[in-house]
């Protein structure tokens, strides 16, 4: 009986936390973390961080590389791929800065979902792989990087873009 009560408590705790995904406090922490490396003053940082994220993604999921042939992924130091890096990072930056305005975020995520649905081969799983890559790269450049806050807000954005895509 005690065990059952304990399990119920654990379940309740898990539920309560799931409910608080990407809270106002999380948003504040995530923006502080992210903008410390993404401000427009830092061109070099933006490119280097996103190059590292993509390098990590391809190191773990080599098959994802072929999705980016159009932007010269074979040459990660080419202007085309670097510009692509800045666009992807800025797409995320835009969504992170809309988290506090749900109606605008919703419209923005729909737009991004349409853009990704048109790209052959992009799957929901790719967004989860990207999450793992961000989790491995960002702590290397952001002191006191908060994984829990980041994951909860990243997942909210990633779900909005990718939930309609093939698994």
């Amino acid at each position: 009986m005690k065990i059952l009560a304990f399990l119920a408590l654990v379940a309740l705790f898990a539920y309560a936390h799931a409910d608080c995904m990407c809270s106002a406090d999380d948003i504040k922490v995530v923006l502080e973390n992210w903008e410390s490396v993404w401000g427009a003053g830092f061109t070099g940082k933006r490119v280097a961080i996103m190059q590292a994220v993509f390098a990590d993604l391809f190191a773990h999921h080599a098959e994802a590389e072929e999705l980016f042939t159009r932007v010269n992924v074979a040459h990660p130091d080419s202007p085309e791929f670097k510009a692509h890096c800045v666009r992807i990072g800025n797409g995320l930056d835009m969504a992170l800065n809309e988290l506090a305005d749900p109606a605008t975020l919703d419209s923005a995520l729909h737009h991004l979902a349409d853009q990704h649905a048109r790209r052959e081969g992009v799957r929901h799983a790719h967004f989860m792989f990207m999450e793992d890559s961000f989790d491995r790269v960002l702590p290397q450049v952001i002191p006191h990087f908060n994984h829990d806050a980041w994951d909860s807000c990243y997942e909210k954005i990633a779900e909005g873009i990718s939930s309609g895509l093939p698994a």
Binding site: V47, P79, R87
Partner: protein
């Protein structure tokens, strides 16, 4: 007489300032300060579009697809943030010319079939030169902004 000539010459140089290395660095740092975060950033975007539509009310017709008739609607706010984010990309790349040119070529392709009258890029610039100083106050460097915005606008409409 020589002194006056020197002053006039100096002004001519300053008034026709290029978007050089130092100007690019200054615009980058002034932009990142003005751009801000979160709901402040949205308000900054709204101010820009109000300044655009005040100068050219008929320009709203270009934005029917994203509810240009109501700048506060979620669809227009999201559109506003896409445009601001595009501008942010360009400004952040001002000191990486090869990547900037790749990005300008990409944006050029996106604007190609939208039939945007050339003077609307000037309208956008004028609006920018109103709302950025409103954020920054007196330290706004008008010459640097004019010269560097011109580099970006020329790249998108080329």
């Amino acid at each position: 007489m020589l002194k006056i000539a020197a002053v006039i010459l100096l002004c001519a140089v300053a008034c026709n300032a290029d978007c050089g290395t130092l100007q690019r660095l200054k615009v980058k740092s002034q932009w990142s300060e003005a751009f801000g975060f979160s709901t402040d950033r949205e308000a900054f975007g709204t101010a820009l579009w109000k300044a655009i539509f005040a100068q050219a009310p008929e320009a709203r017709d270009l934005f029917k697809r994203v509810h240009g008739e109501d700048v506060h609607s979620p669809d227009f706010q999201a559109h506003s943030m896409r445009v601001m984010s595009g501008l942010d990309q360009c400004i952040s790349l001002l000191d990486d010319e090869a990547t900037l040119n790749a990005q300008l070529a990409h944006l050029n392709g996106q604007h190609d079939d939208r039939q945007i009258p050339s003077n609307y890029y000037d309208v956008f610039g004028e609006a920018l030169f109103q709302v950025v100083p409103a954020q920054l106050g007196r330290c706004f460097d008008s010459d640097a902004w004019h010269a560097c915005f011109d580099v970006i606008a020329q790249g998108i409409k080329a």
